[in-house]
Structures are given as C-alpha cells and as structure tokens.
C-alpha cells in the first residue's frame, strides 16, 4: 500500500493527497486523532507496535512511505 492511499483511508476522503514532501500536519483535515488512526493502521500493516522513535519520525507523507517500504 502506498502512503497516499493509507492517508486517504485515515482521512476518509477521496481528495487527492498532496506531494510526498508535505507535512502531515499541513494536510487539510489532519488532526491528532487522524495521527492515532495512522499509527494503528501502520501497526496493522507492518505487524508490530511502532516505537516512540518510529512515531516521531512520521512527519511527512514521504516518512510514511519509507516506513511502509521498510516493513
């Protein structure tokens, strides 16, 4: 799964997700609850609990993509 698909799923929206280098916090409709949803979905996908370090690094769409690719 690509990060953009996952973020759209978390946002429950069909709008296009901005470029990879944009910060998650700058995405329209993004808030801390969406952040929790993202972490929980990522944990499902990668099959492990994310560490606080992992979560802190999730700043941008690209960061999400890198975590997905590393799984």
């Amino acid at each position: 799964m690509h990060a953009r698909e996952l973020i759209a799923e978390v946002l429950r929206t069909n709008v296009s997700i901005p470029p990879d280098n944009i910060l998650l916090a700058q995405i329209e409709g993004w808030d801390s609850l969406k952040g929790v949803r993202l972490v929980l979905r990522l944990e499902e996908i990668v099959g492990r609990e994310l560490s606080e370090d992992d979560i802190e690094k999730l700043q941008s769409v690209e960061d999400v993509d890198q975590l997905l690719k590393a799984a």
Binding site: L33, V36, R37, L40, E43, E49
Partner: protein
C-alpha cells in the same frame, strides 16, 4: 458481557459497594478481573487481581495496568465504578451567615466522580486501541439533570455524560465503545447513607415501578452495554421511571 477469553475486565472503584459487586460478578463469570481502587478496606477480593492505586495519578494507573496485564493481553471491558455521593447546597444559612459550597469538597467530588474515571478511561483506552478495541462503561446519575443540594455531584455526573459522548465519538472509529449508565436510586448502603429514609420513601413513591433499583438491575444494564456492539455514546437511564 465479555466472554471470559475475550480479555480482561478492569473495574475502577472496586473497593466500593458497586465496584465490589461488579468484580464478584465478572469473576464468577470466569473473566480475568483487575480491581483498582485507592484502598480495599472491606473484606479482601478473592479470585481477582487487586491493585491499590491513586486513581488520580495517571502514571500510577498506567503502571498498575502494566504490572497486572501483559502488553500483549487485551482488555475487553473497563467499568468505571469509582465515585462518591455528596450532598452540599450552593448556599446555606449557618447561624446568621451565608455559607457557600466549599471549594475543597467541590474538588473532591469532581476528582472522585469525573477525574478518576477520566484517568482510568484514557489509560485503558490507550491499551484497548492497540489490542482490537473494547468497551468502557461509566456511571452517571439522574442528578446530571440538576438536583438541589448536589451541585458538585450533579456537575460531575453531567461531566461524565459529556466525557462519555466525546470519547465515543473519538474512540468509536478505533474500536472502543464508550457508554454510561445514569442511575436512579439503587438499594445499596451508600444510597441509604446519603439519603434519609423518609426522603428515600418519597422517591420510591414517585418512581412508577414503586421500588428502589437492585444491584442485579445495574449488573443487567452493564452487561447490555458491554455486549451490544452497536451501543456507543449511549447514556442509559436506569431509574425505574422516577424522572418520567
């Protein structure tokens, strides 16, 4: 009612009359039960894991959960039975002076009835969302609509209802359902201690069912909210028709 193998049942305020009854009930059903309270002054709870903890200290509650329940184990249900009934008017005449509701007693009542359940609910929810979800049940009261002589208690219970609805909105998408029971007068020692017999009889007469609630009525309602997977943000009034 969570199946015994679906995860732990956590009861906060487990040292009180309501909490003890719930703990005994769930333990008898075969659930693994973690009982939390500041102290357990009455007879020790048997067949359950009990932890004495200050329910107002987040770190202590988090540690008690971590000590008793392995991170890999799910928590199916939290019942927040912590609380106390408090009667104190906003304004009273003491001798020739007006006396106002004490701030200390206000804080104690808000702490016991709102802050302690908030702490337990947030700490348990953080565990639940990572282990497939769960159910949280809070206790409100028909006093949440306002009740003369119970400003702090009514405010705390109204707060619990707002907290319940808000947590239901936020946590529902994460698999955690949050509901509350708004109790009328239940025939337990704490009710009889807080309400004079004569006044209690007046309430019984005003109740369309003509009786006080029984603990079994409360347990049935807790089981319903725990088991019904479409109940979320529900404030279930259980008062025998007193406020109709």
């Amino acid at each position: 009612m969570p199946a015994p193998d679906n995860g732990w049942v956590v009861v906060s305020g487990a040292g009180g009359a309501l909490g003890r009854t719930l703990v005994s009930h769930f333990a008898a059903q075969g659930s693994r039960v973690l009982a939390l309270d500041r102290t357990f002054e009455a007879a020790p709870l048997t067949g359950v894991t009990a932890r004495a903890v200050d329910l107002l200290v987040e770190a202590d509650v988090r540690q008690a959960l971590a000590d008793a329940i392995a991170a890999s184990e799910p928590i199916a249900l939290l019942v927040n039975a912590a609380g106390l009934i408090w009667n104190e008017p906003v304004l009273a005449l003491r001798g020739a002076k007006f006396a106002t509701h004490g701030l200390e007693s206000w804080r104690n009542v808000i702490d016991a009835n709102l802050t302690a359940p908030f702490v337990a609910a947030t700490q348990v929810a953080a565990r639940m969302v990572r282990r497939g979800g769960g159910s949280i049940i809070n206790f409100s009261s028909i006093a949440s609509d306002g009740n003369a002589g119970q400003a702090a208690y009514a405010a705390a219970k109204a707060g619990i209802e707002g907290l319940t609805r808000t947590m239901a909105i936020e946590l529902g998408p994460l698999g955690v359902r949050v509901n509350a029971l708004a109790l009328g007068f239940i025939d337990v020692a704490t009710t009889r201690h807080a309400v004079a017999d004569e006044r209690l009889q007046t309430y019984v007469q005003k109740t369309s069912l003509g009786r006080l609630g029984h603990m079994d009525d409360v347990i049935n309602a807790v089981e319903f909210l725990a088991a019904n997977t479409f109940a979320n943000g529900t404030i279930l009034k259980l008062d025998g028709g007193l406020r109709l």
